[in-house]
């Protein structure tokens, strides 16, 4: 009977022995990569060096070489040598690369397998120059020589950097609804509910003076726009005196926290910066004039 027992277990184990020796890929969303390719397989780590005898990349097609944080559906395509079955795509020195299955040849290159991907660039990408690397891979998993393109990460045209003599900027990292409050030397709180320090029009009022305004109410009422930035801008030289900056959190929109940063740029020079965290407790209470937590104070001479 012991023999029967041993035989039974041995049969089950032997029949499936291959399973325990299997190789595969790790589950990884690659959400921390600067460049992401939805639907493709992410492989963490540097792309293998490959060899000259491996399949080649004949052509890489880009719409343009300029990228920016949050850029979506940026098409990357091309053609590879006839033996290629996949393409490995990634930014040099990124945390990993992406494997895209080769597609049928295009009409223009009838013998060469194609590849096609729609890239997304991380909100956290730092402005500067990047090298896009594409290698073809054949059926045996051999990587070929690289084909490279230079990509330049620049400020998003959808959210250009604010300009003015004085710019107070609030940015945060989750899709929450935060509000910037700037109290000018006259005691006027400039925020989404009072978008300008300019007083109402009056015939007796002189036209002199410089006024600040809030450029945008990002994620207002939790209508998510993805910008997560608000600026208080003085296009002309701002009034002298003490300024107070507060950060209010009307709602975290379901997010657990929001890490925020406030920076102050006076005549193109950063003069102050502060960081903080908005928690659910910060959403309680009033969200009108003077609300929010103190971020920083600064003086304009």
């Amino acid at each position: 009977m012991r023999a029967l027992t041993a035989l039974g277990f041995a049969g089950v184990l032997a029949g499936a022995g291959a399973a325990s020796c299997s190789t595969g890929v790790r589950a990884d969303t690659g959400a921390d990569a600067y460049m992401q390719v939805p639907g493709a397989q992410f492989v963490r780590g540097p792309m293998p060096q490959g060899s000259a005898s491996g399949p080649s990349v004949d052509q890489v097609s880009l719409v343009n070489n300029n990228i920016w944080a949050g850029l979506e559906n940026d098409p990357i395509g091309g053609a590879m040598g006839p033996t290629a079955t996949a393409a490995a795509i990634g930014l040099q020195n990124d945390v990993g690369y992406w494997v895209v299955v080769a597609g049928p040849p295009d009409v223009a290159t009838p013998t060469d397998p194609s590849f096609s991907a729609n890239a997304v660039f991380s909100q956290g990408i730092i402005l500067g120059s990047y090298t896009l690397v594409v290698r073809a891979v054949d059926q045996s998993g051999s990587f070929g020589p690289p084909s490279t393109q230079i990509l330049v990460a620049e400020a998003s045209p959808l959210n250009p950097a604010a300009t003015g003599d004085l710019v107070v900027t609030l940015t945060w990292d989750t899709e929450s609804n935060l509000n910037l409050h700037v109290i000018d030397p006259n005691g006027t709180d400039i925020y989404w509910g009072n978008q300008s320090s300019q007083p109402p029009f009056s015939f007796n009022q002189s036209d002199a003076g410089s006024y600040g305004y809030i450029d945008y109410d990002s994620n207002g009422n939790c209508v998510i726009d993805g910008l997560r930035t608000e600026d208080a801008i003085w296009p002309d030289p701002p009034p002298s005196g003490q300024y107070t900056v507060r950060v209010d959190a009307p709602s975290l929109c379901g997010q657990p926290i929001a890490n925020w940063t406030v920076s102050v740029v006076l005549e193109d020079e950063q003069i102050a910066q502060a960081r903080g965290v908005a928690l659910d407790a910060d959403t309680m209470g009033s969200h009108g004039v003077g609300s929010g937590v103190l971020a920083l104070q600064f003086a304009v001479p």
């Binding site: 089950v12 029949g15 293998p48 098409p75 996949a86 045996s140």
Partner: protein, 445 residues
């Protein structure tokens, strides 16, 4: 002479009387003990009769249940991330209430019923009915000389194969084989069922909605009028002292549903191809409206066989072998939902499993089970210039060790999983690492 005879008889009688007088207390004690024993037996019979009378007059209600709490010690698939599509966390290394069942059984005469609720935190906290049915039985009391019929209506186990009908707290492995989770997700469906048991025969046939509670689409609903007919013809026989054999063939035939689409209007779509946030003429695309398409139905079926051999191995305990195989078409409702209308061809599904368990005294058990399921035997992939066949099979090798004490279990299982969900460097499907080590505590009450 006659005088001597009388004297002799008198002497004998005197001696006998003397002897009886000496035995009388012991005899009396024995008689009293016998009377007491018979009295107790009569009382027991009377109590049993009274209990049966009460049961006849009042429904018997019994509350039972079980808890299965898991600690997924490590799952290779775990990430500290969320699924971008569902918003659900991707971490699997967690404590979870896999099943918490409370069951109420009630019966009176020929009629009985059951209601079982399941509370779990598999996808967040939820409570749902898992079984609810009313049954008519004949005969009222089990009788070895008569066949036993049970007709049921409601939410009940699907009578297909062995593991689908195996109770969750009895199954030695954490979960059912992949093929059964795919073909019969949730194991329970609404319908009517007729079951027959007679000597070694164990047969069931049912007409059901065909949309089990674990169905990915329309769970517990029924989008088609035709009903699923499913059944199992089984035997359960002791072929020799200490050796028991169970086997069966199962079938399922029914109708699947492909949803139609509503009519759409003409729309203009802006595709920001260069991502500059500006609308440019070449980025405006006109998409023409389409007429509604009708829903379609398709035929699906499954044919399966199962066998189980239980051998008493003294002094360890039972050695049990189990095997099950299913050949199906268009029936996957839980893993890769079969839709031959969308796929353009019938989806051939094949699966099998085999396993063995060995009791090591009443307090421990070890076991192993291997199962493989291919949801599409004709799967292919466009890779470069070629359309190549690919293997879409899922398999699991489960290695289990269990400690038991009365109604409690502590089960440790390591699952070696293979699947086609990853992409290898060469573009071919490969395993997305998913091995898991799980500890389960179970209590039946």
């Amino acid at each position: 002479m006659r005088r001597f005879a009388w004297i002799g008889a008198l002497a004998v009688a005197t001696l006998a009387a003397s002897a009886r007088a000496e035995d009388a207390p012991a005899h009396e004690d024995a008689l009293n003990a016998e009377v007491a024993r018979q009295g107790a037996a009569i009382d027991a019979l009377a109590a049993a009769l009274e209990k049966e009378r009460r049961e006849r007059e009042n429904p018997t209600v019994r509350v039972s249940g079980f808890i299965q709490a898991d600690w997924v010690i490590h799952n290779q698939e775990s990430q500290n991330e969320i699924n971008g599509s569902t918003g659900q966390p991707l971490n699997q290394d967690r404590f979870t209430l896999r099943r918490g069942h409370v069951r109420v059984d009630a019966g009176k005469g020929l009629v009985f019923g059951a209601l079982e609720l399941d509370a779990n935190t598999t996808n967040g906290p939820q409570v749902r009915p898992i079984e609810a049915n009313v049954s008519l039985r004949w005969p009222e009391r089990p009788d070895d000389h008569l066949p036993s019929f049970v007709a049921s209506i409601g939410l009940m186990r699907i009578p297909f194969g062995y593991e689908v009908q195996e109770l969750d707290y009895v199954r030695p492995f954490l979960e059912r084989a992949n093929m059964l989770q795919a073909l019969f997700p949730g194991e329970f469906d609404l319908g009517i069922r007729l079951a027959l048991k007679y000597r070694f025969l164990d047969w069931s046939i049912a007409a059901m909605n065909g949309s089990p509670i674990g169905n990915k689409v329309f769970p517990d609903l029924d989008p088609v009028q035709a009903k699923e007919v499913v059944g199992r013809l089984g035997v359960d026989v002791e072929i020799a002292p200490g050796i028991r054999f169970q086997a069966g063939v199962s079938g399922d035939t029914g109708t699947g549903f492909h949803p139609g689409t509503p009519a759409t209007k003409n729309v203009l779509v802006w595709q920001d191809q260069n991502g500059d946030g500006l609308v440019e003429p070449n980025e405006i695309v006109a998409i023409g409206g389409t007429a509604a398409t009708p829903s379609q139905v398709f035929h699906r079926f499954a044919l399966g066989g199962d066998a189980r051999l239980i051998v008493r191995v003294a002094p360890l305990g039972n050695l049990s072998f189990r095997a099950e195989a299913v050949n199906a078409q268009n029936l996957d409702r839980g893993l890769e939902v079969a839709d031959p209308v969308g796929a353009g061809h019938d989806l051939r599904e094949v699966g099998y499993s085999g396993g063995a368990t060995q009791e090591l005294t009443p307090w421990a058990m070890v076991g192993a089970r291997y199962d493989l399921y291919n949801p599409n035997g004709d799967a292919s992939q466009q890779r470069a210039s070629n359309h190549v066949p690919v293997n879409r099979a899922y398999s699991t090798l489960a290695l289990m060790g269990m400690a038991r004490y009365r109604q409690a279990r502590l089960l440790l299982e390591y699952d070696i999983n293979r699947n086609p969900l990853g992409t290898g460097a060469n573009g071919a499907p490969t395993t997305l690492a998913d091995n898991a080590l799980t500890l389960r505590g179970q209590l039946v009450f």
